[in-house]
């Protein structure tokens, strides 16, 4: 039984490695440090811009910094927060980032 569970667990990982190629996020596919994303976040809630501390408190991430994973990780955090906790707010988010030193098109919410 233990062997069967172990094999299934490893097979799931093998599937995730392949499946991750079809998503922007690279979750559960052993892809650490595939990209260095330097990002800067600006957020406006109900017409009022949030300062750095307010952004940190709202999303529990730094308003600017470096993430050594796919930028989709940051996008997912912002998107999910707004869908779950920020439904009643009029929020505008702008994420500017550079992937491996190269500027990318900004991401915006909504």
């Amino acid at each position: 039984m233990r062997k069967v569970i172990g094999v299934i667990f490893l097979l799931i990982q093998a599937v995730m490695i392949i499946a991750a190629r079809f998503t922007e996020a690279r979750y559960f596919c052993w892809a650490p440090h595939d990209a260095q994303n330097e990002y800067q976040l600006s957020v406006e809630v109900n017409g009022r811009p949030l300062n750095a501390e307010e952004i940190r408190k709202r999303y529990r991430i730094s308003p600017c910094g470096l993430d050594p994973r796919s930028i989709a990780h940051i996008k997912n955090i912002l998107r999910q927060y707004e869908k779950i906790y920020g439904q009643n707010d009029q929020t505008r988010i702008r994420l500017v980032y550079r992937k491996n030193g190269i500027a990318q098109a900004p991401w915006q919410w909504p």
């Binding site: 062997k3 990982q13 490695i17 559960f28 991430i61 990780h73 992937k99 491996n100 030193g101 190269i102």
Partner: protein, 368 residues
């Protein structure tokens, strides 16, 4: 009925091989040393929605922390070792699933290794070996499909702009623009995919383990960080590729003071009584040169001199505990020295191996 020892440095468990128990204990100590118990966050922004219904955040975090300490301490004290590993494995897989903020490859790695130790079905620990192969395959495969890794852009930016690695910058200046970064990118991909294949072929393990240790020592040294618990947990899980000896007899020169003291010390740190000690005169078929002071018989094979002491250290759990304490507990300002120490240590052992083998050959060839 044999009872397991309460000694945390003992790695004898009724249900698991010593190298797997040692791996689990080293990872747990590493997690404590790196403060991961503070990083067991609540279910804020879960990857799987069901975690949102798991009660108040403080209660959720509290349960995770209590479980971490209870299972970890029981593991150290050799109580229900297999169950403790299963619990820790599930815990470290729950943590990244319960909060996107807690997602990290290091935690998932710990979860996978603990879980697979807990699921060890007996015989060689092939579940963990396949896990290692998958990790390297995933890492190499993902990089192979990233244009920035292939062009050298990733390495160029990482080394020059993010880390500011002065030795790398200096070395890169000797090559045309981007060339060294491109070489490093391709080398990383090649090594990772090579290691992935290597972990599936047991007869390659002596080479695979050495290449893996060197690869990670260089990456830690270049990055000047050990990526949380990732480096330590990965190195500890390499122990699953080591065939732990069933019997070990040490024959030593008990007439010589140095070897008597060394032997007494060694006996004291051998908490599991892995080695049985005999005087050199008890060695059967003693065809050694008179200057040999140490001989190790392990699973029917005989090792003398440096080879014997090296294997003695490698198959005694205690030095691994010392190593992990040295790596995880010192303050961050000493970090770069410990990375250098690890790197030098990695080179000293194989170089001493080659040098002493050569000296032994010269001595046998020309003097005896």
């Amino acid at each position: 009925m044999k009872f397991s020892s309460w000694n945390p440095f003992s790695c004898q468990a009724a249900t698991l091989p010593p190298n797997l128990v040692l791996t689990a204990k080293l990872i747990f100590i590493g997690l404590v040393g790196k403060g991961y118990y503070n990083d067991l966050s609540d279910h804020f922004l879960p990857v799987i929605g069901i975690f949102e219904k798991m009660g108040p955040p403080a209660v959720f975090t509290g349960i995770l922390k209590i479980t971490f300490w209870a299972a970890g301490v029981s593991l150290l004290l050799n109580r229900g070792v297999r169950n403790c590993c299963l619990i820790l494995g599930i815990l470290f897989l729950i943590v990244p699933l319960s909060s996107q903020l807690s997602y990290s490859n290091a935690k998932i790695l710990c979860g996978c290794i603990f879980l697979l130790i807990g699921l060890h079905p007996g015989g060689p620990p092939w579940l963990i070996r396949v896990q290692l192969a998958l990790i390297y395959f995933g890492a190499g495969f993902n990089k192979l499909l990233e244009p920035d890794w292939l062009s050298g852009q990733y390495f160029e930016y990482w080394m020059h702009q993010i880390i500011g690695q002065k030795y790398y910058v200096l070395a890169a200046s000797w090559f045309p623009a981007m060339t060294l970064s491109q070489i490093m990118g391709w080398l990383t991909i090649t090594v990772e995919l090579g290691l992935s294949a290597g972990f599936l072929i047991p007869r390659w393990y002596p080479v695979v383990i050495r290449v893996g240790i060197l690869f990670h020592a260089v990456s830690v040294l270049l990055a000047q960080k050990d990526f949380g618990i990732f480096y330590g947990a990965l190195m500890a899980s390499y122990l699953s590729c080591v065939a732990w000896p069933k019997s070990s007899i040490v024959f030593y020169n008990d007439k010589n003071t140095f070897w008597r003291v060394a032997g007494a010390f060694w006996k004291r740190i051998d908490f599991d009584g892995i080695f049985r000690w005999r005087g050199m005169n008890e060695l059967p078929q003693n065809n050694l040169t008179p200057t040999e002071n140490l001989c190790l018989e392990q699973d029917g094979r005989r090792y003398i001199g440096f080879q014997a002491s090296k294997r003695g250290v490698l198959y005694t759990p205690f030095p691994y505990f010392v190593l992990v304490f040295c790596l995880v507990f010192p303050q961050e300002e000493y970090a770069k020295y410990r990375y250098w120490a690890v790197f030098v240590f990695m080179l000293v052992v194989p170089l001493a191996d080659v040098a002493l083998s050569f000296l032994g050959w010269v001595r046998r060839r020309y003097f005896f």
